[in-house]
Protein backbone atom coordinates (compact mmCIF):
# COMPACT_ATOMS: atom_id res chain seq x y z
CA UNK A 1 0.00 0.00 0.00
CA UNK A 2 1.24 3.50 -0.81
CA UNK A 3 2.07 5.26 2.46
CA UNK A 4 -0.95 7.53 2.94
CA UNK A 5 0.30 9.27 6.08
CA UNK A 6 1.06 12.70 4.65
CA UNK A 7 -1.03 12.67 1.49
CA UNK A 8 -3.55 15.39 0.74
CA UNK A 9 -7.28 14.75 0.47
CA UNK A 10 -7.29 14.64 -3.38
CA UNK A 11 -4.31 12.27 -3.33
CA UNK A 12 -6.08 9.96 -0.88
CA UNK A 13 -9.20 10.21 -3.01
CA UNK A 14 -7.31 8.96 -6.05
CA UNK A 15 -6.08 5.95 -4.07
CA UNK A 16 -9.59 5.20 -2.84
CA UNK A 17 -11.36 5.57 -6.17
CA UNK A 18 -8.73 3.49 -7.99
CA UNK A 19 -9.17 0.76 -5.32
CA UNK A 20 -5.48 0.89 -4.43
CA UNK A 21 -6.58 1.34 -0.85
CA UNK A 22 -9.90 0.84 0.88
CA UNK A 23 -11.52 3.21 3.32
CA UNK A 24 -11.20 0.54 6.01
CA UNK A 25 -7.45 0.26 5.35
CA UNK A 26 -7.09 4.00 5.54
CA UNK A 27 -9.12 4.17 8.75
CA UNK A 28 -7.05 1.40 10.36
CA UNK A 29 -3.83 3.13 9.32
CA UNK A 30 -4.78 6.41 10.95
CA UNK A 31 -6.48 4.79 13.96
CA UNK A 32 -3.26 2.89 14.65
CA UNK A 33 -1.26 6.12 14.43
CA UNK A 34 -3.73 7.94 16.69
CA UNK A 35 -3.39 5.20 19.31
CA UNK A 36 0.38 4.76 18.95
CA UNK A 37 1.56 8.35 18.51
CA UNK A 38 -1.32 10.41 19.93
CA UNK A 39 0.02 10.22 23.50
CA UNK A 40 3.43 11.51 22.36
CA UNK A 41 1.84 14.85 21.52
CA UNK A 42 -1.11 14.74 23.97
CA UNK A 43 -3.16 15.09 20.81
CA UNK A 44 -6.04 12.71 21.41
CA UNK A 45 -8.87 12.44 23.92
CA UNK A 46 -10.91 9.56 22.48
CA UNK A 47 -10.14 7.21 19.60
CA UNK A 48 -13.41 6.11 17.98
CA UNK A 49 -12.17 2.85 16.47
CA UNK A 50 -15.41 0.90 16.42
CA UNK A 51 -17.63 3.58 14.90
CA UNK A 52 -14.89 4.66 12.49
CA UNK A 53 -14.42 1.13 11.12
CA UNK A 54 -18.19 0.78 10.70
CA UNK A 55 -18.33 4.09 8.83
CA UNK A 56 -15.38 3.08 6.64
CA UNK A 57 -16.99 -0.26 5.79
CA UNK A 58 -20.11 1.60 4.67
CA UNK A 59 -18.01 3.98 2.54
CA UNK A 60 -16.33 0.96 0.89
CA UNK A 61 -19.70 -0.65 0.16
CA UNK A 62 -20.89 2.59 -1.40
CA UNK A 63 -17.78 2.89 -3.56
CA UNK A 64 -18.18 -0.72 -4.69
CA UNK A 65 -21.74 0.16 -5.70
CA UNK A 66 -20.50 3.14 -7.68
CA UNK A 67 -21.61 5.76 -5.19
CA UNK A 68 -19.04 8.38 -4.23
CA UNK A 69 -20.22 11.15 -1.95
CA UNK A 70 -17.54 13.63 -2.94
CA UNK A 71 -13.97 14.65 -2.18
CA UNK A 72 -14.15 13.52 1.44
CA UNK A 73 -15.55 10.07 0.67
CA UNK A 74 -13.71 7.55 2.82
CA UNK A 75 -11.21 10.08 4.21
CA UNK A 76 -10.41 9.74 7.94
CA UNK A 77 -10.50 12.82 10.15
CA UNK A 78 -10.58 14.05 13.73
CA UNK A 79 -12.59 16.73 15.48
CA UNK A 80 -11.74 19.03 18.36
CA UNK A 81 -13.29 17.72 21.54
CA UNK A 82 -15.73 20.58 21.79
CA UNK A 83 -17.96 19.09 19.09
CA UNK A 84 -20.76 16.85 20.29
CA UNK A 85 -20.51 13.29 19.03
CA UNK A 86 -23.12 10.74 19.95
CA UNK A 87 -21.67 7.78 21.81
CA UNK A 88 -18.35 9.36 22.79
CA UNK A 89 -17.53 11.76 25.61
CA UNK A 90 -17.23 15.45 24.75
CA UNK A 91 -14.88 16.85 27.35
CA UNK A 92 -14.22 20.44 26.26
CA UNK A 93 -10.64 19.71 27.41
CA UNK A 94 -11.72 20.36 30.99
CA UNK A 95 -11.64 17.99 33.96
CA UNK A 96 -15.16 18.92 35.18
CA UNK A 97 -16.52 17.66 31.84
CA UNK A 98 -14.29 14.62 31.30
CA UNK A 99 -17.29 12.23 31.48
CA UNK A 100 -19.78 14.47 29.68
CA UNK A 101 -21.98 12.57 27.21
CA UNK A 102 -24.00 14.82 24.90
CA UNK A 103 -26.98 13.70 22.89
CA UNK A 104 -26.72 13.81 19.13
CA UNK A 105 -23.97 15.03 16.83
CA UNK A 106 -22.85 18.57 16.18
CA UNK A 107 -23.98 19.80 12.78
CA UNK A 108 -20.35 19.81 11.61
CA UNK A 109 -19.91 16.15 12.58
CA UNK A 110 -23.15 15.25 10.84
CA UNK A 111 -22.07 17.10 7.69
CA UNK A 112 -18.63 15.48 7.68
CA UNK A 113 -20.22 12.04 7.78
CA UNK A 114 -22.78 13.04 5.20
CA UNK A 115 -19.90 14.07 2.93
CA UNK A 116 -18.34 10.64 3.40
CA UNK A 117 -15.60 11.49 5.91
CA UNK A 118 -14.79 8.90 8.57
CA UNK A 119 -14.63 10.42 12.04
CA UNK A 120 -11.79 8.65 13.86
CA UNK A 121 -11.08 10.67 16.99
CA UNK A 122 -11.97 13.44 19.37
CA UNK A 123 -8.86 15.59 19.55
CA UNK A 124 -7.37 17.39 22.51
CA UNK A 125 -7.84 21.06 23.25
CA UNK A 126 -7.05 23.70 25.81
CA UNK A 127 -9.64 23.58 28.58
CA UNK A 128 -12.78 25.54 27.69
CA UNK A 129 -11.02 26.69 24.50
CA UNK A 130 -8.80 28.99 26.52
CA UNK A 131 -11.65 31.17 27.69
CA UNK A 132 -10.38 31.43 31.26
CA UNK A 133 -7.14 33.18 30.32
CA UNK A 134 -4.52 30.41 30.38
CA UNK A 135 -0.89 31.52 30.31
CA UNK A 136 0.94 28.21 29.83
CA UNK A 137 0.81 25.08 27.71
CA UNK A 138 -0.31 22.84 30.59
CA UNK A 139 -3.93 23.90 30.45
CA UNK A 140 -5.85 20.74 29.63
CA UNK A 141 -6.61 17.60 31.61
CA UNK A 142 -4.99 15.64 28.76
CA UNK A 143 -1.67 17.45 29.26
CA UNK A 144 0.10 20.14 27.26
CA UNK A 145 -0.28 19.92 23.49
CA UNK A 146 3.10 19.31 21.83
CA UNK A 147 4.15 20.19 18.32
CA UNK A 148 5.39 17.20 16.31
CA UNK A 149 8.31 19.35 15.19
CA UNK A 150 9.72 19.34 18.73
CA UNK A 151 7.71 17.81 21.58
CA UNK A 152 9.47 20.08 24.07
CA UNK A 153 7.49 22.93 22.50
CA UNK A 154 3.83 23.86 22.48
CA UNK A 155 1.46 22.85 19.72
CA UNK A 156 -0.42 26.11 20.02
CA UNK A 157 -4.00 26.32 21.18
CA UNK A 158 -6.73 26.09 21.81
CA UNK A 159 -7.10 23.64 18.88
CA UNK A 160 -3.98 21.84 20.09
CA UNK A 161 -5.00 18.31 19.09
CA UNK A 162 -6.20 19.23 15.60
CA UNK A 163 -2.88 21.02 15.00
CA UNK A 164 -0.57 18.32 16.29
CA UNK A 165 -2.63 15.41 14.93
CA UNK A 166 -2.56 16.81 11.40
CA UNK A 167 1.08 17.84 11.76
CA UNK A 168 2.12 14.36 12.94
CA UNK A 169 0.11 12.55 10.28
CA UNK A 170 -2.38 11.06 12.73
CA UNK A 171 -5.27 12.25 10.56
CA UNK A 172 -5.36 13.87 7.10
CA UNK A 173 -7.48 16.73 8.40
CA UNK A 174 -9.27 17.89 11.51
CA UNK A 175 -11.86 20.41 12.61
CA UNK A 176 -10.75 23.09 15.04
CA UNK A 177 -12.33 26.24 16.34
CA UNK A 178 -11.24 29.83 16.72
CA UNK A 179 -12.63 32.56 18.90
CA UNK A 180 -9.38 34.53 18.84
CA UNK A 181 -6.27 32.71 17.58
CA UNK A 182 -7.23 29.08 18.21
CA UNK A 183 -6.74 27.90 14.62
CA UNK A 184 -4.00 30.45 13.89
CA UNK A 185 -1.62 29.30 16.66
CA UNK A 186 -1.82 25.51 16.13
CA UNK A 187 -1.59 25.88 12.35
CA UNK A 188 1.52 28.03 12.75
CA UNK A 189 3.25 26.04 15.49
CA UNK A 190 2.50 22.63 13.94
CA UNK A 191 3.35 23.61 10.35
CA UNK A 192 -0.03 22.82 8.81
CA UNK A 193 -2.61 24.71 6.78
CA UNK A 194 -5.54 26.18 8.69
CA UNK A 195 -8.63 28.12 7.70
CA UNK A 196 -10.67 30.35 9.99
CA UNK A 197 -13.94 30.83 8.10
CA UNK A 198 -16.14 33.89 8.13
CA UNK A 199 -18.33 34.04 11.26
CA UNK A 200 -21.59 32.29 10.41
CA UNK A 201 -20.13 30.31 7.50
CA UNK A 202 -20.15 27.11 9.56
CA UNK A 203 -22.86 26.08 12.00
CA UNK A 204 -21.90 26.18 15.67
CA UNK A 205 -24.75 23.88 16.66
CA UNK A 206 -23.40 21.21 18.99
CA UNK A 207 -20.12 23.04 19.57
CA UNK A 208 -19.13 24.27 23.01
CA UNK A 209 -19.89 27.96 23.25
CA UNK A 210 -17.13 30.22 24.47
CA UNK A 211 -18.40 33.36 22.76
CA UNK A 212 -21.64 33.12 20.80
CA UNK A 213 -20.78 36.12 18.65
CA UNK A 214 -17.13 35.22 17.95
CA UNK A 215 -16.80 31.41 17.78
CA UNK A 216 -15.92 29.94 14.37
CA UNK A 217 -15.29 26.33 13.31
CA UNK A 218 -12.81 25.51 10.56
CA UNK A 219 -10.38 22.96 9.14
CA UNK A 220 -6.72 22.24 9.75
CA UNK A 221 -5.26 20.17 6.95
CA UNK A 222 -2.23 19.56 4.73
CA UNK A 223 -2.99 22.16 2.08
CA UNK A 224 -5.11 25.18 1.26
CA UNK A 225 -6.93 23.03 -1.29
CA UNK A 226 -7.79 20.52 1.45
CA UNK A 227 -9.10 23.33 3.64
CA UNK A 228 -11.41 24.41 0.83
CA UNK A 229 -12.72 20.90 0.28
CA UNK A 230 -13.49 20.49 3.98
CA UNK A 231 -15.12 23.92 4.21
CA UNK A 232 -17.33 23.07 1.24
CA UNK A 233 -18.56 20.01 3.15
CA UNK A 234 -19.28 21.73 6.46
CA UNK A 235 -20.43 25.22 5.41
CA UNK A 236 -23.98 26.33 4.92
CA UNK A 237 -27.17 27.45 6.55
CA UNK A 238 -28.41 25.48 9.54
CA UNK A 239 -31.81 26.08 11.13
CA UNK A 240 -30.24 25.06 14.44
CA UNK A 241 -27.79 27.98 14.29
CA UNK A 242 -29.62 31.17 13.32
CA UNK A 243 -26.33 33.00 12.75
CA UNK A 244 -25.41 30.81 9.80
CA UNK A 245 -25.12 32.39 6.38
CA UNK A 246 -27.19 31.09 3.48
CA UNK A 247 -24.65 31.94 0.78
CA UNK A 248 -23.10 28.73 -0.56
CA UNK A 249 -19.39 28.07 -0.59
CA UNK A 250 -17.68 26.22 -3.43
CA UNK A 251 -14.06 25.26 -2.97
CA UNK A 252 -11.75 26.74 -5.61
CA UNK A 253 -10.25 24.14 -7.92
CA UNK A 254 -6.55 24.02 -8.82
CA UNK A 255 -6.87 25.68 -12.20
CA UNK A 256 -4.94 28.53 -13.72
CA UNK A 257 -5.71 31.79 -11.98
CA UNK A 258 -8.17 33.90 -13.93
CA UNK A 259 -6.80 37.22 -12.74
CA UNK A 260 -4.02 38.77 -10.74
CA UNK A 261 -4.84 39.17 -7.10
CA UNK A 262 -4.10 42.12 -4.84
CA UNK A 263 -2.36 41.44 -1.55
CA UNK A 264 -1.90 44.21 0.99
CA UNK A 265 0.66 44.65 3.76
CA UNK A 266 -0.19 46.66 6.86
CA UNK A 267 2.19 49.34 8.04
CA UNK A 268 4.18 47.90 10.96
CA UNK A 269 3.68 44.28 9.98
CA UNK A 270 7.40 43.57 9.80
CA UNK A 271 8.26 45.00 13.20
CA UNK A 272 9.41 42.98 16.22
CA UNK A 273 9.34 39.53 14.61
CA UNK A 274 12.16 36.98 14.73
CA UNK A 275 14.69 37.48 11.91
CA UNK A 276 13.87 34.09 10.37
CA UNK A 277 10.15 34.89 10.49
CA UNK A 278 10.83 38.14 8.63
CA UNK A 279 13.12 36.40 6.12
CA UNK A 280 10.47 33.78 5.35
CA UNK A 281 7.75 36.42 5.11
CA UNK A 282 9.75 38.37 2.53
CA UNK A 283 10.38 35.16 0.60
CA UNK A 284 6.64 34.43 0.69
CA UNK A 285 5.92 37.87 -0.75
CA UNK A 286 8.35 37.16 -3.58
CA UNK A 287 6.33 34.06 -4.43
CA UNK A 288 3.01 35.88 -4.07
CA UNK A 289 4.22 38.59 -6.48
CA UNK A 290 4.10 35.95 -9.22
CA UNK A 291 0.31 35.89 -8.91
CA UNK A 292 -0.55 39.11 -7.11
CA UNK A 293 0.19 42.79 -6.96
CA UNK A 294 1.52 43.53 -3.48
CA UNK A 295 0.35 46.83 -2.01
CA UNK A 296 2.46 48.17 0.85
CA UNK A 297 1.74 50.47 3.74
CA UNK A 298 -1.96 49.92 4.28
CA UNK A 299 -3.27 51.23 7.57
CA UNK A 300 -5.65 49.50 9.91
CA UNK A 301 -8.17 52.12 11.10
CA UNK A 302 -7.35 53.10 14.68
CA UNK A 303 -10.02 51.47 16.81
CA UNK A 304 -9.87 49.43 20.04
CA UNK A 305 -10.39 46.05 18.35
CA UNK A 306 -8.57 44.03 20.99
CA UNK A 307 -10.32 45.76 23.87
CA UNK A 308 -13.74 45.17 22.32
CA UNK A 309 -12.95 41.53 21.59
CA UNK A 310 -11.69 41.00 25.14
CA UNK A 311 -14.81 42.44 26.75
CA UNK A 312 -17.13 40.50 24.46
CA UNK A 313 -15.35 37.21 25.17
CA UNK A 314 -15.13 37.90 28.92
CA UNK A 315 -18.82 38.68 29.19
CA UNK A 316 -20.11 35.90 26.95
CA UNK A 317 -17.80 33.29 28.51
CA UNK A 318 -18.91 34.38 31.97
CA UNK A 319 -22.48 33.62 30.99
CA UNK A 320 -21.68 30.45 29.03
CA UNK A 321 -19.73 28.95 31.94
CA UNK A 322 -21.72 30.44 34.82
CA UNK A 323 -22.57 26.95 36.16
CA UNK A 324 -18.87 26.27 36.78
CA UNK A 325 -18.71 29.34 39.02
CA UNK A 326 -21.99 28.57 40.73
CA UNK A 327 -21.12 24.97 41.54
CA UNK A 328 -17.49 25.73 42.33
CA UNK A 329 -16.08 23.20 39.87
CA UNK A 330 -14.04 25.96 38.24
CA UNK A 331 -11.44 24.96 40.86
CA UNK A 332 -10.98 21.62 39.04
CA UNK A 333 -9.45 23.20 35.95
CA UNK A 334 -5.86 22.20 35.22
CA UNK A 335 -4.07 25.55 34.88
CA UNK A 336 -4.09 27.49 38.18
CA UNK A 337 -4.67 30.76 36.32
CA UNK A 338 -7.79 29.28 34.67
CA UNK A 339 -9.29 28.67 38.12
CA UNK A 340 -9.24 32.45 38.71
CA UNK A 341 -9.29 33.93 35.21
CA UNK A 342 -13.05 33.92 34.71
CA UNK A 343 -14.11 35.88 37.77
CA UNK A 344 -13.45 39.26 36.20
CA UNK A 345 -15.88 38.35 33.44
CA UNK A 346 -18.58 37.77 36.04
CA UNK A 347 -18.66 41.49 36.79
CA UNK A 348 -18.46 43.03 33.31
CA UNK A 349 -21.19 45.63 33.33
CA UNK A 350 -23.99 45.17 30.82
CA UNK A 351 -23.43 48.69 29.49
CA UNK A 352 -19.76 47.91 28.84
CA UNK A 353 -20.58 44.70 27.01
CA UNK A 354 -23.11 46.60 24.93
CA UNK A 355 -20.56 49.34 24.24
CA UNK A 356 -18.18 46.68 22.91
CA UNK A 357 -20.94 45.35 20.65
CA UNK A 358 -21.66 48.90 19.48
CA UNK A 359 -17.99 49.52 18.70
CA UNK A 360 -17.96 46.34 16.65
CA UNK A 361 -20.11 47.96 13.95
CA UNK A 362 -17.76 50.86 13.05
CA UNK A 363 -14.87 48.43 13.44
CA UNK A 364 -16.42 46.04 10.92
CA UNK A 365 -17.22 48.89 8.51
CA UNK A 366 -13.66 50.24 8.75
CA UNK A 367 -12.08 46.83 8.30
CA UNK A 368 -14.37 46.05 5.36
CA UNK A 369 -13.37 49.32 3.70
CA UNK A 370 -9.70 48.45 4.12
CA UNK A 371 -10.20 44.90 2.84
CA UNK A 372 -12.17 46.16 -0.16
CA UNK A 373 -8.87 47.47 -1.57
CA UNK A 374 -7.31 43.99 -1.71
CA UNK A 375 -8.12 40.30 -1.86
CA UNK A 376 -6.03 39.56 1.20
CA UNK A 377 -3.81 41.17 3.79
CA UNK A 378 -0.60 39.20 4.32
CA UNK A 379 1.41 39.00 7.52
CA UNK A 380 3.46 36.49 9.46
CA UNK A 381 0.96 34.26 11.28
CA UNK A 382 2.97 34.75 14.46
CA UNK A 383 6.14 36.67 15.31
CA UNK A 384 8.06 33.62 16.57
CA UNK A 385 8.42 29.87 16.29
CA UNK A 386 6.61 27.56 18.74
CA UNK A 387 7.04 28.42 22.40
CA UNK A 388 8.76 26.18 24.97
CA UNK A 389 6.38 24.06 27.03
CA UNK A 390 7.83 25.08 30.35
CA UNK A 391 7.61 28.88 30.18
CA UNK A 392 4.68 31.21 30.88
CA UNK A 393 3.46 32.69 27.62
CA UNK A 394 4.06 36.26 28.76
CA UNK A 395 7.73 35.46 29.43
CA UNK A 396 8.70 33.77 26.14
CA UNK A 397 10.35 35.79 23.41
CA UNK A 398 9.75 39.19 25.08
CA UNK A 399 11.83 40.85 22.37
CA UNK A 400 9.49 39.63 19.64
CA UNK A 401 5.93 40.70 20.51
CA UNK A 402 5.18 41.25 16.82
CA UNK A 403 4.15 44.38 14.95
CA UNK A 404 0.74 45.43 13.74
CA UNK A 405 -1.56 42.53 14.54
CA UNK A 406 -4.76 42.09 12.57
CA UNK A 407 -6.02 39.00 14.40
CA UNK A 408 -8.00 40.88 17.07
CA UNK A 409 -9.74 43.01 14.44
CA UNK A 410 -10.30 39.99 12.17
CA UNK A 411 -11.88 37.91 14.93
CA UNK A 412 -13.93 40.78 16.34
CA UNK A 413 -15.31 41.47 12.87
CA UNK A 414 -15.66 37.82 11.84
CA UNK A 415 -13.57 37.88 8.66
CA UNK A 416 -11.71 34.80 7.40
CA UNK A 417 -8.04 33.93 7.70
CA UNK A 418 -5.79 31.34 6.07
CA UNK A 419 -2.57 30.12 7.68
CA UNK A 420 0.14 28.36 5.67
CA UNK A 421 3.58 27.06 6.62
CA UNK A 422 6.12 29.22 4.82
CA UNK A 423 9.48 27.87 5.98
CA UNK A 424 11.49 26.97 9.02
CA UNK A 425 13.02 29.31 11.52
CA UNK A 426 15.07 29.04 14.67
CA UNK A 427 15.76 25.39 15.63
CA UNK A 428 14.23 24.21 12.36
CA UNK A 429 10.69 24.91 13.59
CA UNK A 430 7.86 26.04 11.30
CA UNK A 431 7.09 29.64 10.47
CA UNK A 432 3.80 30.61 8.90
CA UNK A 433 2.11 33.08 6.57
CA UNK A 434 -1.36 34.44 7.29
CA UNK A 435 -3.78 35.84 4.75
CA UNK A 436 -6.79 37.77 6.04
CA UNK A 437 -9.69 38.31 3.69
CA UNK A 438 -13.06 39.98 3.30
CA UNK A 439 -16.18 38.55 4.87
CA UNK A 440 -17.18 35.56 2.71
CA UNK A 441 -13.88 35.95 0.86
CA UNK A 442 -12.56 32.46 1.61
CA UNK A 443 -12.42 31.46 -2.07
CA UNK A 444 -9.95 34.24 -2.89
CA UNK A 445 -7.81 33.42 0.15
CA UNK A 446 -7.76 29.75 -0.79
CA UNK A 447 -6.97 30.47 -4.44
CA UNK A 448 -4.02 32.62 -3.38
CA UNK A 449 -2.96 29.95 -0.88
CA UNK A 450 -3.19 27.23 -3.55
CA UNK A 451 -1.12 29.35 -5.94
CA UNK A 452 1.46 29.83 -3.19
CA UNK A 453 1.61 26.11 -2.40
CA UNK A 454 1.82 25.23 -6.11
CA UNK A 455 5.05 27.24 -6.17
CA UNK A 456 6.54 26.10 -2.87
CA UNK A 457 7.09 22.86 -1.01
CA UNK A 458 6.76 23.81 2.65
CA UNK A 459 3.39 22.05 3.00
CA UNK A 460 5.22 18.84 2.01
CA UNK A 461 7.83 19.07 4.76
CA UNK A 462 7.50 16.52 7.55
CA UNK A 463 8.44 16.88 11.19
CA UNK A 464 11.74 15.15 12.05
CA UNK A 465 11.42 11.39 12.39
CA UNK A 466 7.89 11.20 10.96
Amino acid sequence: MTDPTFLSIPELGVLLRSRRVSSVELARHFLDRLERLGPTYNAVVTVMRESAIAEAQERDRELAAGKARGALHGIPCGVKDLLATHGAPTTWGAAPYRDQMLKGDATVVRRLRSAGAVVCAKLAMVELAGGMGYNQAFASFTGPGKTPWDPSRWSGGSSSGPGSAVGAGLVPFAIGSETWGSIQYPAAFCGVSGLRPTYGRVSRHGAMALSWTMDKLGPLARTAEDCGLVLEAIAGADPQDPTTITQRFAAPRPVRLRRRYRVGILRGTREKVQPEVLRNFEASLSVLRQVADVVEDLQLPELPYDAAASIIIDAEAASAFEPLFENGRITELTAPEDRLGGYAGQVVLAKDYLRALRVRRPAAVGLAKLLSQVDAIAAPSLPTIAWPLDAPFDKVYPNYPGGTDISGAANLCGVPGLFLMNGTGEAGLPTSLQLTGRALGEAALLAIGMAYQARTNFHRLRPPGL
Partner: protein, 58 residues
Protein backbone atom coordinates in the same frame (compact mmCIF):
# COMPACT_ATOMS: atom_id res chain seq x y z
CA UNK B 1 -19.64 41.49 44.26
CA UNK B 2 -17.03 38.77 43.68
CA UNK B 3 -16.25 38.75 47.40
CA UNK B 4 -19.96 38.51 48.25
CA UNK B 5 -20.73 35.74 45.80
CA UNK B 6 -17.57 33.68 45.79
CA UNK B 7 -15.48 34.98 48.68
CA UNK B 8 -15.72 31.75 50.65
CA UNK B 9 -13.57 29.96 48.09
CA UNK B 10 -11.12 32.76 47.28
CA UNK B 11 -8.09 33.65 49.40
CA UNK B 12 -6.98 37.26 49.89
CA UNK B 13 -4.27 36.60 47.27
CA UNK B 14 -6.88 35.24 44.85
CA UNK B 15 -9.06 38.29 45.40
CA UNK B 16 -6.08 40.52 44.70
CA UNK B 17 -5.46 38.69 41.42
CA UNK B 18 -9.11 39.03 40.44
CA UNK B 19 -9.00 42.74 41.29
CA UNK B 20 -6.06 43.18 38.93
CA UNK B 21 -7.99 41.40 36.18
CA UNK B 22 -11.03 43.60 36.75
CA UNK B 23 -8.75 46.63 36.53
CA UNK B 24 -7.45 45.39 33.18
CA UNK B 25 -11.04 45.02 31.97
CA UNK B 26 -11.77 48.59 33.04
CA UNK B 27 -8.79 49.76 31.03
CA UNK B 28 -10.35 48.06 28.02
CA UNK B 29 -13.58 49.92 28.73
CA UNK B 30 -11.66 53.20 28.83
CA UNK B 31 -10.35 52.43 25.34
CA UNK B 32 -13.88 51.77 24.08
CA UNK B 33 -15.09 55.07 25.51
CA UNK B 34 -12.78 56.92 23.13
CA UNK B 35 -14.92 55.76 20.20
CA UNK B 36 -17.70 58.26 19.52
CA UNK B 37 -21.06 56.55 19.44
CA UNK B 38 -24.36 58.26 18.71
CA UNK B 39 -27.64 57.30 20.33
CA UNK B 40 -28.65 55.42 17.21
CA UNK B 41 -25.48 53.33 16.99
CA UNK B 42 -26.92 49.98 17.93
CA UNK B 43 -25.15 46.92 19.31
CA UNK B 44 -24.14 44.70 16.43
CA UNK B 45 -26.51 41.87 16.96
CA UNK B 46 -29.83 41.00 15.38
CA UNK B 47 -32.70 39.54 17.33
CA UNK B 48 -35.06 37.39 15.33
CA UNK B 49 -38.42 36.70 16.96
CA UNK B 50 -39.25 33.01 16.98
CA UNK B 51 -42.01 32.19 14.56
CA UNK B 52 -44.83 29.81 15.46
CA UNK B 53 -44.36 26.29 14.17
CA UNK B 54 -46.80 25.44 11.34
CA UNK B 55 -50.05 24.11 12.73
CA UNK B 56 -49.75 25.74 16.15
CA UNK B 57 -52.21 28.38 17.42
CA UNK B 58 -52.21 30.92 20.20
Amino acid sequence: MIRAQYGSRLSPKDLSTVAQQIQKGLEHVDQLKKVNLANGDEPDFVFTPSRPQPGTHD
